[in-house]
């Protein structure tokens, strides 16, 4: 990954990082960033982006590696480039609840806020574009537009968390599973949303992680999946693959009476 333009044609984004910038940050180039358009950076003009670019570093995370630990002074922000990260909360005796999932183009971190009480970990190998918190804050301070964009994202994240609170507090295991399958499909399966035809995709989470998202146990997740399989609503071709056979049936189960 270097600064050559044009490998990936992202419309008009033709900033040329100056050679000395390339040297100093050889692995951090925005022009061919896969999430340029969808990330928070999407709000920036090319000139602004090139300023921000100087503050960022790319970083690889191996499966299981943490980007932030609950309780520690948070010192960084980041955009997710590839892979999926989990944001999780833990009780003193080790029970875990995943309180958020971060997909490519999502933003992590809380500029202007001191502490971050959650742990952020890569579920599989991942790449992120990190900023020192103070740098990022400085940058934000001069761009109301970007602050606004981050505010909007945060509102969305909040709504998502609240929707999940309803799920955790009031929905049955089967409703939770149905919801999870649909949500995950919409997020990663792309929008081959078209009709109701069967769709197959790989779940990006292990059964254990799904349980931690849904506030269930591994066994319950597994049983509910088999139940759906037996009912002919989904198929489980093996591994982490799922085929949604009757999408409308799933949708009906989401909020059932």
């Amino acid at each position: 990954m270097d600064a050559r333009v044009g490998t990936k044609m992202l419309d008009s984004c033709t900033i040329l990082a100056r050679p000395d910038d390339e040297e100093r940050f050889p692995t951090s180039v925005c022009t061919d960033c896969a999430v340029r358009r969808d990330s928070l950076c999407g709000t920036l003009t090319d000139a602004e982006l090139s300023r921000l670019h100087r503050l960022g570093r790319r970083r690889r995370l191996r499966r299981g590696e943490a980007f932030a630990w609950a309780g520690e002074e948070s010192r960084g922000c980041a955009n997710v480039l590839s892979g999926i990260l989990k944001v999780s909360a833990l009780t003193a005796d080790g029970r875990e609840q995943i309180v958020g999932l971060l997909y490519p183009s999502d933003f992590v971190g809380q500029p202007f806020v001191g502490s971050f009480e959650f742990t952020v970990t890569a579920l599989g190998d991942a790449e992120i574009c990190t900023f020192r918190k103070s740098d990022f804050e400085g940058f934000l301070s001069t761009r109301n537009g970007m602050t606004q964009a981050l505010l909007c994202r945060t509102f969305d994240t909040l709504s998502d968390a609240r929707r999940r609170m309803l799920l955790l507090g009031r929905q049955s295991a089967s409703e939770r599973i149905a919801d999870f399958l649909l949500q995950t499909f919409e997020r990663i399966g792309g929008c081959s949303a078209s009709s109701n035809g069967p769709v197959t995709f790989d779940l990006p989470l292990s059964r254990g992680a799904i349980a931690d998202v849904l506030g269930l146990t591994i066994e319950t997740v597994s049983r509910q999946m088999t139940k759906l399989k037996v009912a002919g609503v989904i198929a489980l071709p093996g591994g982490r693959a799922v085929t949604i056979l009757k999408r409308d049936a799933l949708r009906r189960m989401t909020d059932a009476a």
Copy 2:
């Protein structure tokens, strides 16, 4: 639309004449606003405040009255002046989960975001200071500082929601109750935090509302309270009053092994 009631108060105190929900308050000026310091407005200079003041209206909400409905286009923002509001999510068949509580000085609404999927209702009589969303957005757009302040508040709200996700997904009924009692005391009981001495205060929520916050049923809430009473951890003098007798015992139950 808004009939001007021209009793000249300080500067341009324009207030809606609809007597029912939008009343005129002789003290309806920011200068003697009870939550001036703690609310989002606390970030403003006097000059800015006086500009914002022209955009706001005070409004009384009677117990049970809604400020926003899930699904409807959100058209307002507000600061809570007095009383407590709930933010709640509902399933199709009527199960309810309270996903947030709003106390005086809290901000409600999502500027720059179209839809709001939750219902906001006054738990008891309440007063709020409302703004038309577009007005508020306009105001925010010219003040990066205030946008930042709102961003911080939103991060805090998000952290709170996530903490509650852990509670809903992974904690037992007794842990939930212990947590709720302590949190509520800290929020309303003021910080007579001092020692571990017994403290008495009124719960601002009915048993039913507590159940909807904690993802439990009324009966379970009631049973857990009696259990705590029998154990000598709290006393229930009657009505909605609670006395915390052994605060450290409660604290230990919060996250127990």
